[in-house]
């Protein structure tokens, strides 16, 4: 079944209305040296979403060449800045292009386009401003045990600092309304951006909901993902961020 037509029998939006939502949606994909998987990721997304923005974050591999032939607008950072900076660039670009809905989606192939659609459907119902993907809602059997422990700790800390009650804080799959995306002014260029996003959304009193998503843990995505020690860097970045003007 093609994406965006709605599942029969489910309480989702009518397909015609949802097609309009899709036309107003921009998917932002921050990519850094993702030459091995970027083609599959963008091809998979393009069957569902007409507007895709890839932020090539100063990749030094063949990412730029591969992106040339794909159905996506490419915004290129001349040097590598980090995922947080790339997301902000992509979101700013999407807002300039008139996006009413913005979906953020990782480039390493760990997310599924159908989960992005589920998040968007929930958002488009208008009951909330932001929908975040959570790998800990529903079945969590595919999350490696060590990663689960680290992520749960990070979620606990993020909830403590941002004052939220999320089950997953560092999931790159999110759907934001225009109103929510406009509130974001990310200063954390690196991986601490996930906590910063939640903190800024919370400060602007955005209504946040979660939707269960599946993460495709491959050797590639695990290698590209964050190491356990990086959680210390995230913590330091968040503390330093408090002292910045």
């Amino acid at each position: 079944m093609p994406y965006g037509t709605g599942q029969p029998g489910q309480n989702t939006m009518q397909s015609e209305a949802f097609r309009k939502v899709l036309a107003e949606t921009f998917v932002v994909v921050p990519a850094y040296n993702e030459g091995r998987v970027i083609r599959d990721v963008i091809t998979g997304l393009s069957s569902a979403f007409p507007n895709i923005v890839v932020v090539n974050d100063g990749s030094s591999d063949e990412t730029a060449e591969i992106l040339r032939g794909l159905p996506a607008v490419v915004v290129k950072h001349q040097i590598n800045l980090g995922q947080g900076a790339s997301l902000q660039t992509g979101i700013t670009f999407a807002l300039e292009r008139g996006a009413n809905y913005i979906v953020t989606f990782d480039a390493d192939g760990q997310h599924r386009a159908e989960d992005a659609l589920s998040a968007l459907r929930l958002l488009a119902e208008g009951q909330c401003d932001v929908v975040c993907g959570s790998r800990f809602l529903g079945t969590t059997s595919n999350v490696p045990r060590m990663r689960k422990i680290i992520l749960k700790t990070v979620v606990g800390l993020a909830n403590l600092t941002a004052g939220t009650k999320m089950t997953d804080a560092h999931n790159g799959l999110r759907a934001l309304s225009r109103r929510a995306a406009s509130c974001l002014d990310l200063h954390q260029s690196g991986m601490a951006h996930a906590s910063e996003i939640m903190s800024q959304l919370r400060n602007h009193k955005m209504n946040i909901r979660e939707v269960p998503v599946q993460i495709n843990y491959t050797q590639y995505s695990l290698a590209k993902g964050q190491s356990s020690l990086n959680s210390i860097n995230i913590l330091v970045d968040l503390v330093i961020g408090r002292f910045m003007k």
């Binding site: 700013t92 330093i240 910045m244």
Partner: protein, 109 residues
Amino acid sequence: MTFKYFLVAALIGFVFYLLLLPRVGYLRKGAIFSVVIMMLVFAIQPDWSSSVAKAVGISRGADLLFYVSHLTLFFIAFVYFVKFKEMELRFTKLVRQLALENARREAEH
């Protein structure tokens, strides 16, 4: 004795350099000035450091100077790290601006 004169001369030079720095706030200038003056006094009168050390519960003056210099260096490193992060943010905004302008130009063509 020779090193003592060298140290005093270097510290006095640093005080003048500090006073001439244009973009340092009065609070920061005052804090650095106090530490340098303290070092100057202890360089001229080393015995005083032991008296101050005893008054704050540290047995030796050398230990007091060791702790104070470590704390000062840590503070300076922290301040410069924050400054570095602020500069990184400005740099990020510049790169973003360039990326967005290029993307806009490409979209127009």
